[in-house]
């Protein structure tokens, strides 16, 4: 089976959680052929992961190129540019461009309308030169006019408006890539990388799987939070429209934790289209470790980062030391923010923990790190489905963590001496109480707790289980794609848009109208 797997700023160029997930998936399902559509910012990247033999890499750089054809193989670039004359642009592109701009300028975007617009743009890009069309005077004048007559955008600075307009071309570049031909399209985010997969669904009826590791819209809104209001409206509308379009067109969504599923439901996805597939870890990498000798030790494995809220862990540990004077805290991981690392060291000094807290730095051997501790602490204020929690579980170590993201579903209802090991974020007292409960328990109790967590991890969070789940999704969807083709409704025109969800034929009809 041929799978088109799209990524954005991750595999195989950037180290990280999503890249690791893709790498595991392509290695774990060698009987499938994967075509990786990798959206990157520019073509100048090292390969951080070596793709196996069943992978073909199709990078889609958004910047670092003058013409799309430099890196997006399309034949007859000269002829396509020649064909894209101003009359053709006015007749075949401008109506859909107007439609698209209206979507984006409105306070609340309509994903259905956006889908029509994007699919028409993709169809246009099959035969014509998208850059020429977007560079046409009428295209710009229309966008400008819409902005000028909008009470919000008229007061936006010309620089951010221009930035948005020019960025829009880059964001639409994935539509200029050849439409993938595959059995199943699988997008690793509800983001720009989903666009080629969505076009494949419109064009060929290819079923679409959508996996969210983090909530893309959430991340984009956070990144825009400090921007001027007008800029935020333009970009946020675009991102939200793309996200909701991806949600709408996905045949199944496979978030990596139920927490993400909650967000997806809030954003309008029907629960029956969501199937949580937790990230898995290869148990062979993390074996059960014997309880270490020595003083009671709390461990932390992760980035020294504000989102990890290490300061709260330090405050909690200070309270633990009041009860267990010989306790130790060891922290492994790189510091991504030097100022925040400074704050952590200041906190250590203020709390008088200089003899008992040790910053070990980055490590390649997480298993040994877990093995040298009695309990693992995680005080994050924001998480998705953290690998570190599952790895600690496989090492048979109790974990005290904040109940954010998918942490609670990873740990389950675990307690020590009646105290829940899942606590509220930003509460050093609660965290300290849970840590004391674990450290003051007997070795047998801790071993039992660790063993139960390991069993839970081996049952629910192994790599093999993850592979099997995805394989099942692919196999289920592939024959389903054929059924969906037969069940498509009649195509519709621009002014006859109905609220038909996942109407591939309607998209195709809209595309046909664009070029008739």
């Amino acid at each position: 089976m041929k799978i088109y797997l799209s990524t954005e700023g991750t595999y195989p160029f950037v180290l990280g959680g999503v890249s690791t997930w893709v790498d595991m998936l392509v290695h774990g399902l060698p009987h499938h052929e994967f075509e990786i559509g990798a959206l990157v910012d520019n073509p100048h990247h090292r390969v951080a992961y070596r793709p196996p033999a069943n992978v073909t890499l199709r990078p889609i750089p958004l910047w670092g190129l003058e013409l799309a054809e430099e890196y997006l193989p399309r034949p007859d670039g000269w002829r396509r540019a020649w064909r894209t004359s101003p009359p053709v642009v006015r007749r075949r592109f401008l109506p859909w461009w107007e439609h698209l701009v209206d979507c984006l300028a409105a306070p609340e975007a309509d994903p259905d309308a956006l889908g029509d617009g994007l699919s028409a743009v993709a169809h246009f890009a099959e035969r014509y030169d998208l850059r020429r069309a977007l560079g046409d005077a009428a295209t710009w004048e229309l966008l400008l006019e819409r902005l000028r007559t909008n009470p919000i955008h008229a007061r936006t600075g010309l620089a951010p408006a221009m930035d948005f307009a020019r960025t829009l071309y880059r964001y639409l570049l994935p539509l200029a890539a050849p439409t993938p031909v595959c059995d199943v399209a699988h997008s690793s985010a509800a983001a720009l990388c989903a666009l080629p997969a969505i076009v494949a669904k419109y064009r060929y009826g290819t079923p679409l799987v959508l996996t969210e590791h983090g909530i893309y819209l959430r991340e984009r809104l956070l990144a825009l939070s400090g921007k001027p209001f007008g800029t935020k409206v333009l970009f946020a509308n675009f991102y939200r429209a793309v996200v909701e379009l991806a949600y709408r067109e996905a045949d199944v969504l496979t978030p990596v934790c139920a927490y993400n599923a909650g967000w997806e439901e809030e954003l309008g996805v029907a629960p029956d289209r969501i199937r949580v597939i937790h990230n898995g870890v290869d148990p062979a990498r993390i074996d059960e470790r014997p309880v270490p000798e020595g003083p009671p030790t709390v461990g932390f494995v992760g980035r020294i980062d504000p989102l990890k809220d290490v300061v709260t862990l330090l405050r909690a540990f200070a309270r633990v030391r009041d009860v267990i004077p010989d306790a130790r805290l060891r922290l492994w991981g790189p510091a991504t923010s030097v100022p925040y690392l400074g704050r952590c060291h200041d906190a250590v000094r203020e709390l008088g923990l200089t003899d008992s807290v040790h910053f070990e730095g980055p490590t390649n051997d997480a298993a040994s790190a877990y093995g040298s501790c009695h309990v693992i602490g995680l005080s994050s204020i924001s998480e998705a489905f953290p690998y570190s929690v599952v790895e600690a579980m496989l090492a048979a170590r109790p974990v005290v963590a904040t109940g954010v993201g998918g942490v609670a579903e990873a740990l389950g209802p675990c307690r020590a001496r009646g105290v829940s090991l899942v606590v509220e974020p930003g509460d050093p007292g609660a965290m300290a109480g849970a840590l004391v409960a674990v450290l003051s328990a007997s070795a047998a109790e801790r071993a039992s707790l660790g063993a139960s967590l390991r069993d839970r991890a081996l049952t629910m969070f192994t790599a093999r289980r993850m592979f099997d789940d995805y394989d099942d999704v692919y196999r289920t969807l592939a024959p389903g794609a054929s059924r969906a083709l037969d069940e498509r409704a009649a195509p519709r025109a621009l002014d006859e848009r109905g609220a038909s969800e996942g109407d591939g034929a309607g998209r195709a009809g809209a595309m046909a109208e664009a070029v008739s």
Partner: protein, 528 residues
């Protein structure tokens, strides 16, 4: 980011207000409750905490907090303050001085000619056969290398901006080296046609012409890397070194400089300079410093070709306008060529007017996209688009006025001043005999300068098609005018072609540039 959380015990309305203040601390004007929910979650508000505050969950909490935002966020109730940037400063004397650096090889060549009476590739040789061969070879070299150098300049600048030295090397191979090979082939064809087929000149001068063409092409191409890297100091060292050798040789030749010895030395010096430029480019200017590999994906050759073709075609037509009058002055319209010393001398002197114009061109274009446009765009809002266009148009007209002033000063200096120098410098002695020709050539090159100025601005704005239209219009006008003036003789023919070609080039280029600047927003937007 603050990680101070309200305690669970602070529930109810107070908790909502504290949550609102927390949100405002991160985001002054949230778009909608969804954005509020995202900020709250980042600040540690879980579903449990939301329920403790009396809501059903995070989304309901976000809705209630969003309703409170106007109380805490001034940005929500008042029009958003517009941050207006300062107006960018126009180019000044320092920019002009840096622009002069671009003409340094030419200035050194002029100085050498005044000091020693000879120069690198134009001289007062006494032998017509040598002059014929070298002039024709120079014309071929400029015509063939022009397109490749323009293509290289465009694409190499692009990759230098991306910091991709590997691709810069690759582009160098595919443009400059290919250009040198093409020029060598063209010069070889010229040699074979003149020497073996037509039997023109002498065997020795024919070989000289071939060597001159290759050496001049190699030097032109070798200097291209220095221009792209703005390595003017090192370029100056190389050029001054070559000039020093020539001046030394001439000064030690006594009262008679054997023209054959002179041209041989000139060509060899040019070849050595070219070799030094190439080696310096490969070992220093274009060296790959980091251990990073080349980009995994090379761009498609046909797409690259499509991207640089307009620049290459511009180079071809531009150098046609530059060299065609020289050939026409030798009788090209009549199907022959014989070096025309008066035209060569007067046109060579008139070219000096381009020094100031090129410096002003560089000063104006260098920061157009990095300083001028960002400054203008940051100074206006979307609703003030007409004011923005007016500002840019005023800037453009101001630069045109500066250009016009420079042109007048340069033109007068050449037309009035150069003949007066004839008594001092032997090489300029005959200028007094051709005042009309000098004036015509000066006007022609001033017009050419105006066209260059406009086209370089358009290139800086990534609009290559307009300069292409302008320069090829000039080419057509040159051909038509030359043919029409043929009965008046080669010299008049050449002057008419130069003035007409440069005039049409300038008129079209200035008009198209004016339209580009009149709709500066569209022009800038198109640099996608």
């Amino acid at each position: 980011m603050s990680t101070t959380m309200p305690r669970v015990s602070e529930g109810g309305e107070l908790g909502l207000h504290m949550a609102a203040r927390t949100v405002v601390g991160h985001c002054a004007a949230p778009l909608n409750p969804l954005e509020v929910a995202v900020v709250l979650e980042t600040c540690g508000y879980t579903a449990g905490r939301a329920r403790a505050l009396g809501t059903d969950g995070l989304m309901e909490l976000a809705q209630r907090v969003f309703d409170l935002m106007p109380l805490y966020s001034a940005a929500m109730s008042l029009p958003e303050p517009i941050e207006v940037g300062a107006r960018p400063r126009p180019p000044g004397p320092a920019d002009f001085g840096r622009g002069l650096a671009y003409s340094s090889p030419w200035l050194v060549s002029l100085a050498t000619m005044l000091i020693a009476g000879v120069s690198f590739w134009s001289s007062n040789v006494a032998l017509p056969s040598i002059a014929n061969a070298v002039t024709l070879a120079t014309a071929v070299a400029l015509l063939v290398t022009g397109p490749f150098i323009q293509a290289f300049g465009r694409r190499a600048s692009f990759y230098i901006g991306l910091g991709d030295q590997g691709m810069v090397v690759r582009i160098t191979r595919w443009t400059l080296e290919l250009g040198l090979a093409a020029t060598g082939l063209a010069c070889l064809v010229l040699y074979l046609v003149r020497n073996d087929v037509l039997g023109l000149g002498t065997p020795a001068t024919a070989r000289l012409g071939l060597a001159a063409g290759i050496a001049i092409a190699a030097l032109q191409i070798g200097l291209a890397s220095f221009y792209v890297r703005r390595a003017f100091l090192s370029m100056g060292v190389i050029v001054v070194g070559g000039a020093t050798v020539l001046i030394w040789m001439v000064s030690h030749a006594g009262s008679y400089v054997d023209p054959t010895v002179l041209i041989v030395w000139q060509i060899r010096v040019v070849a050595v300079m070219a070799a030094v430029c190439w080696v310096a480019s490969a070992w220093w200017l274009l060296r790959v410093t980091a251990s990073a590999p080349a980009p995994l994906w090379r761009p498609s050759g046909s797409a690259l070709l499509r991207a640089v073709t307009p620049y290459g075609l511009y180079g071809l037509a531009f150098f046609t306008i530059v060299v065609a009058p020289q050939l026409v002055s030798g009788g090209l319209v009549e199907g022959r060529y014989s070096f025309n010393p008066p035209f060569a001398m007067t046109s060579g002197v008139a070219l000096v007017v381009l020094v100031a114009i090129l410096a002003q061109t560089v000063a104006t274009t260098e920061h157009l996209l990095s300083r001028q446009f960002p400054g203008w765009l940051g100074h206006f809002t979307v609703g003030q688009i007409d004011e923005f266009r007016g500002e840019v148009r005023r800037y453009w007209l101001g630069q045109l006025a500066v250009l016009a002033g420079l042109s007048v000063v340069s033109g007068l200096a050449v037309v009035e001043g150069a003949p007066r120098l004839g008594s001092r410098f032997v090489v300029l002695r005959d200028l007094t005999s051709h005042p009309g020709l000098l004036a015509a050539c000066t006007v022609g090159y001033l017009l050419l300068g105006a066209g260059i100025f406009s086209c370089q601005l358009l290139f800086a704005l990534s609009a290559p098609m307009r300069p292409l239209v302008a320069v090829w219009s000039g080419c057509v006008a040159l051909v038509v005018a030359s043919i029409a003036a043929a009965p008046a003789g080669p010299t008049v023919c050449a002057a008419a072609g130069l003035v007409a070609g440069a005039g049409v080039f300038a008129a079209v280029a200035v008009t198209l540039a004016h339209r580009a600047f009149a709709h500066a927003d569209l022009t800038y937007y198109r640099t996608l």
